[in-house]
């Protein structure tokens, strides 16, 4: 009971049971397939955000990067006639640049990541709107290697899954390995827990943070491309508000907002939980406009429950 991801897991099971009882369609193959199609897109960003939060920083620009990366790639294909592979690569390079700028300003100039990435959110979203003049672009839809790689789908029984689920599973395993088993994970936790102590032991804290900003940005861009390919459209407003949803997933999973304690398994549970909530409350008939109220209340309730469980564990 002590580990935060375990209490999150219990809450997730309770939610699934409640929604399952409230509406029989909730656990139907079609609905589960639907949830699994959306899950990886936010989940992949949440993996990067978990590592970044564990190191004591966070990134509000991920939603905007999610929108910009596929838009840039598609503009390069449609207006500059670039090969799709090269265009996607260019989109990811742009993400690397955005992450590096975030990281360098946060670590070398010493401005809080909240302010730096909030500004970056505006710049990136503004750029996406300006270069598209606000219109969504048609995405790449010719079957081929990249469509299969990013948005191919396959059936298992009555379930229909997208390749993005493999991306999510693979990246989750990689993130678990890095945070729990690799030397780098020890550094990430130490930096978030006590930066001065880590630096005094020779840990290159700034470099680690800059790379984590880059990683988070690249994962946001990759998720944006996956999404654009799945729905065959690259919209400049795609991903609006995702930054907060992703941070909610991460903290609901048990990662500390203050750094030092991070759990990838918790984040996977958190991503599942938020997806289930969004999907479930629509199914049980909450009116569309009231829907965010419920999401907010449920997240808050879960965080309070978390805090209480933690307190009890600390006392015993």
């Amino acid at each position: 009971m002590r580990s935060p991801q375990f209490s999150s897991f219990v809450i997730l099971v309770v939610l699934l049971v409640v929604f399952g009882i409230a509406d029989s369609n909730f656990l139907s193959p079609l609905n589960i397939s639907n949830m699994m199609a959306f899950l990886p897109e936010l989940g992949i960003i949440a993996l990067g955000m978990t590592l970044l939060l564990t190191a004591g920083e966070f990134d509000l620009s991920v939603g905007a990067v999610f929108g910009l990366a596929p838009v840039v790639a598609m503009l390069l294909v449609q207006n500059a006639g670039l090969d799709i592979g090269v265009a996607l690569l260019a989109g990811l390079l742009l993400c690397i640049a955005i992450g590096a700028i975030n990281g360098v300003i946060v670590t070398k100039i010493g401005i809080s990541s909240f302010l730096v990435t909030l500004s970056m959110l505006l710049i990136v979203r503004g750029a996406a709107l300006y270069i598209t003049q606000g219109f969504p672009l048609k995405s790449w839809d010719q079957p081929g290697f990249f469509v299969t790689l990013l948005a191919g789908s396959f059936n298992i029984g009555a379930f229909r899954f997208y390749t993005s689920l493999w991306w999510f599973i693979g990246l989750s395993l990689l993130a678990v390995y890095i945070l729990r088993y690799a030397k780098l994970g020890n550094w990430i936790s130490a930096i978030g827990s006590n930066r001065n102590a880590a630096v005094a032991r020779g840990v290159p804290a700034d470099a680690v943070k800059i790379w984590l900003f880059i990683l988070t940005s690249v994962l946001a861009g990759l998720a944006g491309m996956i999404s654009a390919f799945r729905i065959s459209a690259a919209s400049p407003v795609a991903g609006t508000g995702y930054e907060l949803e992703v941070i909610a997933m991460v903290v609901v999973g048990g990662t500390a907002l203050t750094g030092g304690r991070g759990t990838i398994l918790g984040t996977v549970v958190g991503a599942l939980m938020l997806r289930a909530i969004r999907n479930g409350i629509v199914l049980v008939g909450v009116p569309g406009l009231a829907y965010n109220i419920f999401v907010g209340v449920i997240i808050l309730a879960m965080l309070i429950l978390h805090a209480l469980l933690q307190k009890n564990a600390a006392r015993s």
Binding site: I178, A182, A190, A197, A198
Partner: protein, 257 residues
């Protein structure tokens, strides 16, 4: 006794403030030297310069007679200089074992660089071994989080970490701050053990009583300069106090009598 560390005319300014004006000192093998001084005397600047927190402006540092340059904390550690800062030496969210090896983690598949997997068995065993050696194995589990430890236990962990890497020079910055009486004695016992094990210790403290309990030699700093150097056997509390404040306390006392 062999000379381990020699500082010659170290200088450091921050803007127009000369925090360190030509500070020189030597540290011999197996010797505990107390560095005393009021707030702003330059003690912190001096130890930060030796431990690589920032580079010095001018002056020379010799380790075992060899001239060295120390620009980063890593370089200081590699030269065998371990610094234990007050309260800031450990990461509370990490286990004892992970803290002990922070920055020097034992890994498998070394070629993977920062992605190399930690050698968890070795990490655990080495940590337990170390905890046993320093006599705190009965109470502490190597996998326990540092956040669950008391201040004294944390200091002990930080000190054992420095001893474990066979540091030539161990710098203790206010090691007994915020500690209870018993914990303070534990730390002072540690300092004596370090000397017996052949480490040289530079002890920064405000508590002069501790100095007389463990130190061999006293160095007093005032306004960025080293103003006095005495062996503990040849001095007394009042003399040291007047050296720190710059006022001749013993003369005052005599007059009062």
């Amino acid at each position: 006794m062999q000379e381990v560390l020699r500082l010659q005319n170290l200088q450091k300014s921050f803007g127009s403030v000369r925090a360190l004006k030509k500070a020189s000192l030597t540290l011999k093998e197996g010797e505990v030297v107390a560095l005393l001084g009021d707030n702003g005397a330059g003690k912190s600047t001096l130890i930060k310069a030796i431990s690589g927190v920032f580079p010095i402006d001018r002056g020379d540092i010799y380790v075992r007679g060899e001239k060295v340059s120390i620009r980063t904390t890593r370089e200081a550690m590699d030269l065998g200089i371990e610094t234990i800062h007050q309260d800031t030496s450990l990461a509370p969210d990490l286990s004892i074992a992970r803290n002990l090896f922070l920055g020097r983690e034992p890994v498998n598949l070394k070629w993977l660089g920062v992605f190399a997997p930690l050698d968890r068995a070795k990490l655990r065993n080495a940590a337990s071994e170390l905890l046993k050696r320093v006599g705190i194995s009965k109470k502490l589990d190597a996998d326990a989080l540092v956040s669950t430890l008391s201040g004294g236990e944390r200091q002990s962990i930080a000190i054992s970490r420095a001893m474990q890497f066979a540091a030539k020079v161990i710098i203790l910055d206010e090691p007994t701050n915020n500690l209870g009486v018993e914990e303070t004695h534990g730390v002072l016992r540690f300092v004596k053990e370090m000397r017996e094990a052949g480490h040289s210790v530079l002890l920064i403290t405000h508590n002069i009583h501790h100095v007389f309990e463990v130190a061999d030699r006293i160095i007093v700093m005032r306004r960025g300069e080293i103003v006095a150097e005495q062996t503990v056997a040849d001095t007394d509390l009042l003399t040291v106090e007047s050296l720190i404040t710059g006022a001749d306390l013993s003369a005052l006392m005599k007059r009062a009598q």
